[in-house]
Symmetry: C3
Subunit: 156 residues, 3 copies
């Protein structure tokens, strides 16, 4: 029986139920992920609730220095790899993202960012906002957060 | 009977299914919309998943110049008209928005923005955050993103 | 047949229904909440749709001055108390939050913020992004918005 469809046949009986996002199980992806250093900060890397996965802000932090990685390309790769890993904890991929917000401290890096970013997705892309901000934690040039919903295959 | 599970008994047979946001069809609204210029950027203007529509960041770009429209009122109108058009692609209106985030490079424009903004909605309004940021793409003073869920009419 | 209800059919007949966030009731939490001063701004403090509650941007505004409260601790407490109150309007608690975004005009306040923030939650924490921005309304140092889904108790 395919999820999402209820095929019910029973003569004379009527049943009703309200659909709610609160009905599906909730999971937390801890931060930092196993293997990462330092005490846990007051947030999860992602929370699954009602079939929707909320991905925390990720930055491209070098685990050795606890600062943003040196080099813009390296930083973006590290950030997107981290997001990918968080999604994978719930069996999701970057293509399951439906919306992302990118915060960036220097909009002159827009094209550089996009070049790396395109490599992490198959079209069609998630919705996105790209916002120039004054400062990010740990000297990061970029921070990305997003929302993912498990797609249903080829046609998503 | 526990919410979220449909337990159906027919001649000794029991069936159960978990409700999930992944169950409903997914649609992508491409960017740019038909008629707009330039190659497609790496995002969709909106993504529908599980009955929730994620609207990408929209700015008030003049198609002729590919920059933010001259004049604050014109820019806000162009931005909100674009958002409205994206929503209409999925059969939604501005009143179906449940949450929006407005990014603005100059908070002295707050009242001017609100005057135009009120004209696009019927009360009650969506939830909203209004955030002063350092810079936006294409010289925009404003960028707006949001989430919409189809309302069910008068009482929504 | 009303959306959101599965009316189960007679023997030999097959019925199918798509699950959608549009199926559950929608509620608006007005802004300002009862007791607050000034005319209502063009947003709701929160909107419930499809079992997901979208919390508007909250700041730590002193009702007497209509400006951000004096003192960082006081401001953060006032902001989080306001968010808690908005959640309570829908029978939710801070632990029902699945994702929050914190905007902050001065990242040197990060640790101070976290100390107060931890006091409002039980682990595991919601997903979070913490973003340094140039300016917030009413002289606020912080603004917080979020998304909540009613948890199902101990295991959430």
């Amino acid at each position: 029986m395919r999820a999402g469809y209820f095929v019910i046949c029973l003569a004379g009986l009527t049943s009703a139920a309200t659909v709610s996002a609160a009905d599906a199980p909730r999971h937390y992806v801890p931060s930092p992920l196993p293997g990462a250093a330092a005490p846990a900060p007051p947030f999860s890397n992602g929370v699954m609730a009602g079939g929707t996965f909320y991905v925390a802000g990720h930055i491209g932090m070098d685990p050795a220095t606890q600062k943003a990685a040196a080099g813009v390309d390296a930083e973006v790769h590290l950030m997107l790899d981290g997001m990918k890993k968080t999604l994978a904890s719930e069996g999701l991929t970057m293509d399951d993202l439906v919306s992302v917000t990118v915060y960036c401290t220097d909009l002159s890096l827009y094209d550089t960012f996009n070049t790396v970013y395109r490599g992490y997705f198959h079209e069609p892309y998630p919705a996105r906002a790209f916002i120039g901000v004054s400062q990010l934690v740990r000297g990061a040039h970029f921070e990305i957060m997003g929302v993912a919903v498990k797609s249903r295959g080829a046609g998503r």
